[in-house]
Structures are given as structure tokens and as C-alpha cells.
């Protein structure tokens, strides 16, 4: 027996083995199509997932904008809460004069909030007082 390390096969024997294994070709076009269809379906799901993700990103952006709007509104709301309608002129009643006084006392108050108070006051009493 050859004691030297032997890792070569004669080329003719290799050629015969390769030819024999090359004949193992029974993969049909139908099988090819089935696997290609599986791949298409799998990666189409990736496209759908990315499409679904897009509205989520937009929703996040919209949420941020809404949050900013809410914070700003609440900040205005805090200011509006400070616009507590009281009998500022000591007339014995809360009326439109008090609204105007409140506006003068709160120069930074939003006009819309002043208007809202005035509207509410008028709604309470056609005379413009909260009697």
C-alpha cells in the first residue's frame, strides 16, 4: 500500500464520475416555476410590508404635529384659564365691561379667547351680563 499521502484521483476516473453525476438532471421546468413562484410571493410580502409601513411613518409625523398643536393649545388654554371672568369693575355684576377690563389686564391673551368669553356672556344674557 502506498504510504505517501494520496489525495489525487486519475483524471479519467474523475471525468467518469462527473459525467455520471451530470446525468442526474431530472429537475423539470414545472419544479423551477414552483420555486420561482414561492420566491415572488415571499418578496412581494416585503413590498406590501413596506407599503403598510409608509402610512405608519406618516401617522407618526402627524402625531407629532398634533402633539405640538395640543401643547400650544394647552398653553393657550392655560392662558385662557387665567382669563377668569369676574366682576372686575365692582359693579355688582359680571358684564362686557369686565371682559374688556380682563383684556386690558392680559395684553397677551388671544383675541379669540376674549371673543369667546364675550360671546358666552352674551349668550347667558342678551343684555351682556351674567346676572
Amino acid at each position: 500500500m502506498n504510504s505517501e499521502y494520496d489525495d489525487k484521483l486519475p483524471q479519467e476516473l474523475i471525468d467518469k464520475l462527473v459525467d455520471e453525476n451530470r446525468s442526474v438532471r431530472f429537475i423539470t421546468a414545472k419544479v423551477d416555476r414552483e420555486i420561482e413562484s414561492l420566491a415572488e410571493a415571499h418578496f412581494a410580502e416585503r413590498k406590501a410590508a413596506r407599503t403598510r409601513a409608509r402610512p405608519a411613518w406618516i401617522a407618526v409625523a402627524a402625531s407629532v404635529l398634533v402633539a405640538v398643536f395640543i401643547v400650544q393649545t394647552q398653553q393657550r388654554g392655560v392662558d385662557s384659564d387665567a382669563l377668569r371672568l369676574e366682576d372686575l369693575d365692582g359693579s355688582g355684576r359680571v358684564d362686557i365691561v369686565d371682559v374688556l377690563a380682563l383684556a386690558r389686564q392680559n395684553p397677551n391673551a388671544q383675541q379669540t379667547d376674549i371673543d369667546a368669553l364675550a360671546s358666552a356672556l352674551v349668550a347667558l344674557s342678551p343684555k351682556g351680563d351674567a346676572s
Binding site: 499521502y5 484521483l9 479519467e12 476516473l13 474523475i14 420555486i35 420566491a39 416585503r46
Partner: protein
């Protein structure tokens, strides 16, 4: 005049580049890349599966199971693949194990459903009377090693990877296999040429 079939444009990307396209490319590129991987490696997978089962249908089923496994590695929902070895190193055990599992199921079906498949003797495919009989003198393990080396063209390291054995063991088993072929009446004439 008959229309010529569309000639597929050859994809020159490496397996690693194709894998990357499957990992993160858009749907179209990923599908194309996967198709190229399938085209390149389907024959290897079916040969491994056929050697493991000696059954055409089992080999085709194992082919589908192997590439379905590969597909599921890519998102969604797979995490993707980073090739640290040749792709054949990943595909070989999947193909072989799929074929062996399918073969055992078939044997169980043949033997009866109440038979524990683990109790069935391992039925390695028998070499036919064709050229494979030249390797029949070798035990199945060495026969597979010779085929991986000389038919599939794998390096010693790659063979060690797919068979899960050290490179030194690959070398010594290959040496013994070739010694057997050198001394076998069926194959010694090739060595005398």
C-alpha cells in the same frame, strides 16, 4: 418562424452580492437575485438529495424544502443571511437532512404506520450497476467524501464544514478512500494508466 426563447441575461454577481440583494433589495431585485441563486445551486442540491435517498421524487421534494428554507431566512420575516462560508456549505446539510427525513417517512409508510421509524435500519442507497459501482467498494461516508471533493469540487475546508468534521479527518479519510480505490480490482486500472 418559431420565436427564439428569451435568453436570460447572465448575472455576474457573486453569491454574497445576491444574498445581500435578497436581504435588503426591493421585491423585484430580491426575486431576481434569489432566482439566480436557485439556478446556480439547484443541481448541487438535487445531487446531494439524490445521493442521500436514491429516489427522484424525494430528491425533488428535498430540493423544494431546501430552497424554501433558504427563502425563509430573508425578510420578512427572516433576519437575513451573512455568508461566512460558501453557500453550498449552508445548503448541503439542509438538502441531505431533508432527503433523509423524507426517505424515513417513506420507509415508515411502507413498513406500516405503527412502526417506529427510529427502529428501522438505516437504508443507505445502494450503488447501482453503473459507474457509481466503481465507488461501491467504499463505505457510504467515504464515497460521499470522494464525490464532494472530485465531483462537487469542494476544498478540504469546505468538506469539513459541510460534514462537520475537522480538516485533518477529511484528509485522512480521503487518503484512505483513494488507497481503497487504488487497490480495488474495479478501479485499479485507472491508476495504472
Amino acid at each position: 418562424m418559431a420565436r427564439m426563447p428569451a435568453v436570460r441575461k447572465r448575472d455576474h454577481r457573486s453569491d454574497a452580492e445576491l444574498i445581500e440583494a435578497c436581504n435588503s433589495g426591493d421585491a423585484k431585485d430580491a426575486t431576481t437575485a434569489f432566482g439566480e441563486l436557485y439556478r446556480r445551486h439547484k443541481d448541487f442540491v438535487v445531487r446531494v438529495a439524490y445521493r442521500s435517498s436514491d429516489d427522484h421524487q424525494i430528491a425533488l421534494d428535498a430540493l423544494q424544502e431546501t430552497f424554501t428554507w433558504l427563502l425563509k431566512q430573508f425578510p420578512p420575516p427572516g433576519a437575513g443571511i451573512t455568508l461566512t462560508a460558501k453557500l453550498t456549505s449552508y445548503l448541503y446539510p439542509i438538502a441531505r437532512n431533508s432527503a433523509l427525513t423524507l426517505l424515513r417517512k417513506k420507509q415508515r409508510f411502507t413498513a406500516g404506520s405503527d412502526v417506529d421509524p427510529d427502529s428501522l435500519p438505516s437504508q443507505e442507497p445502494q450503488a447501482s450497476d453503473d459507474i457509481d459501482s466503481l465507488l461501491a467498494v467504499l463505505p457510504a461516508e467515504r464515497r460521499e467524501l470522494v464525490l464532494l471533493r472530485f465531483v462537487e469540487g469542494m476544498s478540504m475546508n469546505e468538506i469539513g464544514d459541510v460534514l462537520g468534521i475537522p480538516v485533518g479527518t477529511v484528509k485522512s479519510r480521503l487518503h484512505l478512500a483513494i488507497q481503497q480505490l487504488r487497490n480495488s480490482p474495479r478501479t485499479k486500472t485507472f491508476f495504472d494508466l
